[in-house]
């Protein structure tokens, strides 16, 4: 394989690459051996720490799957609310009226600058003081509130970028046939922008799912990560549990990331769309967040 940085290796380079490979293997092997040795010393590799995940169905039905369900629930609720809200905020940012554009812009910039954890804490305190939400439901409400406030602001930026990615000719042509501003936005720009934004939106869902873990750690939401405490209390296998939990997150998020890049690939090839794709870099990283698909965050 050849690339910008190096030619297709000849016999000499191949030999050198083998040496590098061997050196890397040695370093990697030493590091892995060191980690495993420490784990073995602390009895973290014993079979009884890991076997419950294979043999004991209860660990899945009582803890892991309900936790995963709660994670998905909080993430999906937040996405379903943040999406239309973000679309409205995004359109507000593009408004021709300064009295709409400026306050909406300030709102979006403000909530993008605040860590999502603080928004969750604030949301939780709001519900304690000003609502009758029961204490069992409060963590979910607070987490969703924090996620919606933060992510609707991020989605607003994605929407703005999506609409700006469309050729100016679209608006001009729509104006020429006598469409009104609202019609242009709703009938011409938004439908096309949505397809361009789809990959960025799907990767934003990864960000949201990852951020629900903050709610588990700080607000006591019964999501996947928080199950770590209960499982290790029963089986005293902290590391094994954390590894399994991390794997579950990775599998779910990896599927979403793959979906996003598949959509992106389809959009780039599709003849119908404008071919514009809103890159992940607008969907910027956040508290516990990931960036967009493949390319830079």
């Amino acid at each position: 394989m050849s690339s910008v940085l190096y030619d297709t290796p000849g016999p000499k380079a191949r030999a050198r690459n083998w040496i590098y490979t061997a050196a890397f293997l040695v370093v990697f092997g030493l590091a892995a051996w060191w980690v495993l040795a420490i784990m073995a010393e602390n009895h973290q590799l014993d079979a009884d720490k890991w076997s419950p995940f294979l043999t004991d169905g209860e660990i899945w039905t009582t803890f892991l799957l309900p936790g995963l369900g709660e994670t998905l629930k909080a993430g999906l609720i937040a996405m379903v609310i943040a999406l239309p809200l973000g679309a409205i905020l995004g359109m507000g940012r593009l408004s021709d009226h300064r009295w709409v554009r400026i306050p909406v812009g300030a709102w979006v910039e403000f909530f993008r600058a605040i860590p999502v954890l603080m928004l969750m804490l604030f949301g939780s305190a709001l519900y304690v003081r000003f609502s009758a939400v029961s204490s069992e439901l409060r963590p979910l409400y607070a987490v969703v509130t924090g996620l919606v406030l933060y992510n609707s602001a991020v989605i607003a930026e994605i929407v703005v970028a999506g609409i700006r990615s469309l050729p100016q000719g679209q608006t001009d042509a729509a104006k020429a046939i006598g469409m009104r501003k609202g019609q242009i936005m709703v009938d011409v720009l938004i439908p096309q922008a949505v397809t361009a934004m789809l990959p960025a939106l799907v990767s934003q869902l990864v960000v949201i799912l990852k951020d629900t873990a903050i709610g588990g750690a700080v607000l006591g939401l019964g999501e996947l990560l928080s199950m770590n405490r209960q499982i290790s209390a029963n089986y005293s296998n902290t590391i094994a549990t954390l590894v399994v939990i991390a794997l579950l997150y990775i599998v779910v998020n990896f599927m979403l990331t793959t979906l996003a890049s598949w959509i992106e690939g389809r959009l780039r090839r599709s003849k119908k769309g404008t071919g514009a794709v809103v890159a992940g870099d607008v969907a910027e990283v956040d508290a516990g967040g990931a960036a967009g698909v493949g390319e830079a965050p």
């Binding site: 690339s3 910008v4 940085l5 190096y6 030619d7 290796p9 380079a13 690459n17 590098y20 490979t21 890397f24 293997l25 420490i38 784990m39 602390n42 973290q44 403000f110 600058a113 605040i114 860590p115 954890l117 603080m118 804490l121 604030f122 305190a125 709001l126 003081r129 990864v206 799912l209 990852k210 951020d211 629900t212 873990a213 903050i214 588990g216 750690a217 700080v218 990560l225 770590n228 902290t238 590391i239 954390l242 939990i245 991390a246 997150y249 990775i250 998020n253 990896f254 990331t257 870099d281 910027e284 990283v285 956040d286 508290a287 516990g288 967040g289 990931a290 960036a291 830079a296 965050p297």
Partner: protein, 224 residues
């Protein structure tokens, strides 16, 4: 409304100072780790490329909270790793920095890799024609230009890192979010004032960073 601040019970500036320190140490660490990862991902050695790709894919898809909790519960409490010992506070701080570096390094790596793609192929070819090795091409020709091209995305990573440091509150590092949590619990009547103070703090931390580095990015960008 702000009289609870006069009691001297809450060290808001101290908490933000911890946030700043967390950010700076993690930023330097993840810049180094991210550059190494990027080097691996573009290297001619297939095994290193595979390791870089696997690491980035795995760590990026793991919630930061899981990594930070893993550092505290897994590394420290289960395996007894304390990164040089010291007080509970110092250990927590260092574990958090370790977690942030492991996580943020992947974003630095991806930003740098996209920067490497902005360098015209002809330059690397010319460098190779002069007889430079892969390592020389990377460090003398490609990376210096790539860095200048990716200051803007790296700024986003840095700002995200600043906000991410609040997750250290989950393992009890005394930074801004932890103090805010404590103040909301103790001073429920001043909820909006407390939130306002901490929100302002983060706006003050991230806004100048973005503006300054945005200006730097424009100044040093390679004009093509």
């Amino acid at each position: 409304m702000f009289d609870f601040l006069d009691s001297g019970q809450y060290d808001v500036l101290g908490a933000f100072w911890v946030t700043v320190q967390l950010t700076l140490y993690s930023a330097v660490g993840s810049l180094i780790w991210g550059t190494i990862l990027a080097g691996m991902r573009v290297s001619p050695v297939p095994l290193m490329r595979a390791f870089g790709t696997a690491y980035v894919d795995i760590v990026r898809n793991t919630p930061l909270t899981v990594i930070i909790i893993g550092c505290s519960l897994g590394l420290n409490q289960t395996l007894g790793i304390s990164l040089g010992g010291g007080t509970f506070k110092e250990i927590g701080f260092r574990l958090a920095v370790l977690g942030f570096i492991a996580y943020t390094g992947t974003f630095v790596c991806e930003a740098l890799r996209s920067g490497i793609n902005t360098v015209p192929v002809g330059q690397a070819e010319a460098a190779r024609a002069l007889g430079l090795s892969f390592f020389q091409v990377l460090t003398l020709i490609v990376l210096p230009q790539a860095f200048r091209a990716v200051i803007a995305p790296l700024t986003n990573v840095l700002i995200a890192l600043t906000k991410n440091t609040t997750v250290a509150a989950a393992i009890g590092v005394a930074e801004a979010a932890l103090l805010m949590k404590e103040m909301i619990e103790n001073e429920p009547q001043a909820l909006f004032a407390v939130f306002g103070i901490f929100a302002l703090g983060f706006v003050l931390l991230t806004l100048p960073t973005g503006l300054l580095l945005g200006w730097v990015a424009k100044r040093v960008a390679v004009k093509r």
